[in-house]
Amino acid sequence: MTDGQGIAEADQDDELSGLLTGLGRAFGGALLFCLPMLMTMEMWELGFAMDRWRLLLLLLTSLPMLMFLSHYSGFEATWDWKEDLRDVAIAYGIGLVSSIVVLGVLAVIGPQMHASELIGKIVIHTIPGALGALLGRSQFGPNEDNEEKREQSYGSELGIMAAGALYLGLNVAPTEEMILIAFRMSSLQSLLLIGLSLLLMHGFVFASEFKGGSEVREDTRWWSEFMRFTVVGYAIALAISCYVLWTFGRLDGLSLSTSLYVLVVLSFPAAIGAAAARLIL
């Protein structure tokens, strides 16, 4: 064996073990992020009860979000759309496999079920699983490239917030508690919840300044940060919550005002998810 061959083989070994480590992290991420949903009764029911067009649309709209996440922090530091697409496909695969294994072991799915129920239950869990696979990669990954990743454009900061809002929103939107809480709340409590969401969000935005998250200069006024990150972030949380609630049929038959109450309730965790994502990712 020549030296050249030796080095090439060593490189291949490195690449292979790197890939396996990446896959392991992705599986870990998929489980960590998806387990609450895999163990929620309403998610199983949605698998066979939810509107098929909305499920298909959720699958399609998750693609650009996952592409963005892969671009931002995927299995590898990629900037090429083909590689991002490949990573997203792997993430879907990991979400699919982890959903099938966990749902099968938990007796949520079984061979006696009709294909429509089986596929519905698996698909609805695959999407958060894929999201978790990509997020997990960035969380369990090495820290050394974090500094370089911190240089973010405003657009990608908003994208990160959307991903955070989608993650926490997906986790709680299917539960009956979201509508139940909204039914029990008064208008004034809803108003207070909006205030509380904005306040807590701004706390996270403020905290991310210390992490060196965004280029906050000494002379940046607090209201400038508040308007550009907190207010826009809350609007993103509202939009994502609205989409997720509609997807899960939680707004069906509700009047405008009742829908707004439910929207404000779900936007609370979504807003925290959005703000925390900038700090964590």
């Binding site: 405003y154 208008s187 108003l191 009742t258």
Partner: protein, 137 residues
Amino acid sequence: MTASASDGPSSRSARIATAIEWTLAAVSGVIILGLAGYLLFEAVTKTGSHPVLILRIDGIEAMPDGAVVDLSVLNTGHATAAEIEIEGTLGTGPDAITSTATLDYAPAESTSPVALVFNRPVSANELALRVLGYRDP
């Protein structure tokens, strides 16, 4: 984050980016203020504390061994009702057949679907509907 127009040589793209940031901020601010304003309006104007439930027949579908009556439960009140018991009675006297259904929630000012099942054909004019009861969510 994009550089603001105030620092250093302000390029055209930086100015555009700043304009986009502030446009987004303004639009978001208007949405949130609108939402808060609507809730404040509701807090002041909608003070009714009881659900007002109305039952409406949406359709009667013949089945192999009877019929299914599709109903809408309209709650025109300002409060939500939970666990609404609905009863439908076909005919009168000893031959009357009753059927009941329970609805999880009838949200305020909203419409919720429910169905009653009978073991014989149903015509709308012989069907009597009523709400037996509900509780606060």
